[in-house]
Amino acid sequence: MLVMRPAQMADLAEVQRLAADSPIGVTSLPDDRERLAEKIAVSESSFAAEVSFNGEERYFFVLEEPGSGRLLGCSGIVASAGYSEAFYSFRNETFVHASRELKIHNKIHVLSICHDLTGNSLLSSFHVEPALVHTPWAELISRGRLLFMASHPERFADAVVVEILGPSDEQGDSPFWDAVGRHFFDMRYAAAERLSSLRSRTFLAELMPHYPIYVPLLPDAAQEAMGQVHPRAQISFDIMTREGFETEHYIDIFDGGPILHARTSGVCSIARSAVAPATIGAGSRSGRLYLLGNGGLQDFRASLVELDWTPGQPLRLSAETAALLGVGEGDSLRLVAL
């Protein structure tokens, strides 16, 4: 049984091991000890802060094997994407170029640089060990964030986005980047992604093209890469599409991967989650698998528990599970079916 909890500075070595394994382009998870330490420090103070609306907080969670202390995954939430700067994305747009006289009716696809998603909350830094990808534990570390958001709505924006990694090859080259960003940045994809993970993104205002890009002018490989998902991000994409995120409107300015977005209140795990008190005893012997979160902040815990639960009734938890989730008799938990 694994548990999701806020990262602590003591996790640094384990987090770096995870980061080293994460693919290029997960820009929020750089393989850089100093940056990771900073990331954890920022997260610790974010969890500790009193917050009444979403600001520059960044929350970072880990997935722990309680016995060994080993970390098997991580995930994060940025309270406000592009805080104090702008959050850049390409909007998929269609213009109709029509001539009635010549009987021509062209739908022209363009990519427009936009800041539409600035200030939305951003799900980030998702990564699990490969062995866990197709297990419910991947759902825990990903969707556990949504339970956390449901418990602390004042900390997040009304809308939420997820950047899904787009295709790149073994050499770390991305066909979309090569056809678009590279003209303006004059560097390879891997270098650009590194840059973007290591620094403030103000340089985007200086370097990104202002005018829309006409998609028919792009090479086929780049057109095909638009909105496509890197194999290692498929799991994240699948989870979020099931959560009801829209996938069509925005793509990443670097690799062309889809940027998913949703009204926060409309995300399934948030909309359908319920709150119920715990009663500690024998636990359920059978039933359905639920994602449970204790509603805490610094002491936030979430895990997966098999429950035979009826809405309106308390949750019967074993003493072991209750301890793992850090709850006592009568404490409230938030849950959603897996």
């Binding site: 006289e101 022209i108 003209h183 004059d186 103000t202 370097l207 005018y211």
Partner: protein
Amino acid sequence: MIVRPVRNADLPALVDLARNAGVGTGLTSLPFNEERLAQRVAMAERSFRGEAEKADADYLFVLETDQERIVGISGLTAAVGLREPWYNYRVGLTVTASRELDLYREIPTLFLANDLTGNSELRSLFLQADHRGGLSGRLLARSRLLFLAEFRSLFADKVIAELRGVSDARARSPFWESLGRHFFRMEFRRADYLTGVGNRAFIAQLMPKFPLYSCFLSEEARAAIGHVHPHGEPALAMLRAEGFSYQGYVDIFDAGPVVECETAKIRVVRDSQTLVLAIGTPEEEAEPYLVHNRQRQDCRITAAPARVAAGTLVVDPLTARRLQLCAGAQVRAVPLVARPHGAGR
């Protein structure tokens, strides 16, 4: 050999000429469309009669042999774009740079513009193949400028000319293949034809409206921007010698260069003078002159050896006959080509 205004009676000859011109030459402004040609000729007649508004006026000249055979045509439009938008790409520059990251890129960028609106335009130059070489080409091309010098107030303060852009042996324009085709879904030749017959509304409807970063064009297309087709080199050389230069505007279909010159600085305009015609023997120091009879509707322009002497222009009797002038008449004249020492000015 004289240049004179086109007349309705020339129409059959013009149709023949256009039919020959139309095949593979990309002469956009003289398409083989009889109805459209007839309209242009009618407009030209009104223009020479002084009955056309500046926005419509279109002066079309023919080159006629002494046997009264028409072997070439050239045009001069008073003002482009005053009825429908006149489009060009302006070749501008986008620089993306970050001092922090030590990055610097220059990206030539095409801006769709109507900037050349209102200027006069040289167009529709065509000369039958068997008359190229000799003075005919120079006469046909430059006679328009002499007409413009004489009737300065009918024209704008700047004159432009669009030159044919680069294309391959099969008349495929790499610029069109890389850009226009995606938006027009037709062959270059058809788009060219449509504008030639005066249909320009479709450009506004179909063209990409935002500035275009040239890095998204093919290498061949980028290389074609602002470059003239080899067949256009002589025309470009003539225009350059007259003072025209490329200032960054290109054709939206094939990216051929637009050259421009302030009217007052065109050599023929600047250097032409009014003289009294004298008939005699031009003699050895004669050089070829372009001579205009100073008429609008009955305009006649020819090229002939002549010399200036005491306020007169001495030409031989044939030249006077061609101009249908007697000695003592006023003419406007200019050396046919720039004097070598003038080139360095």
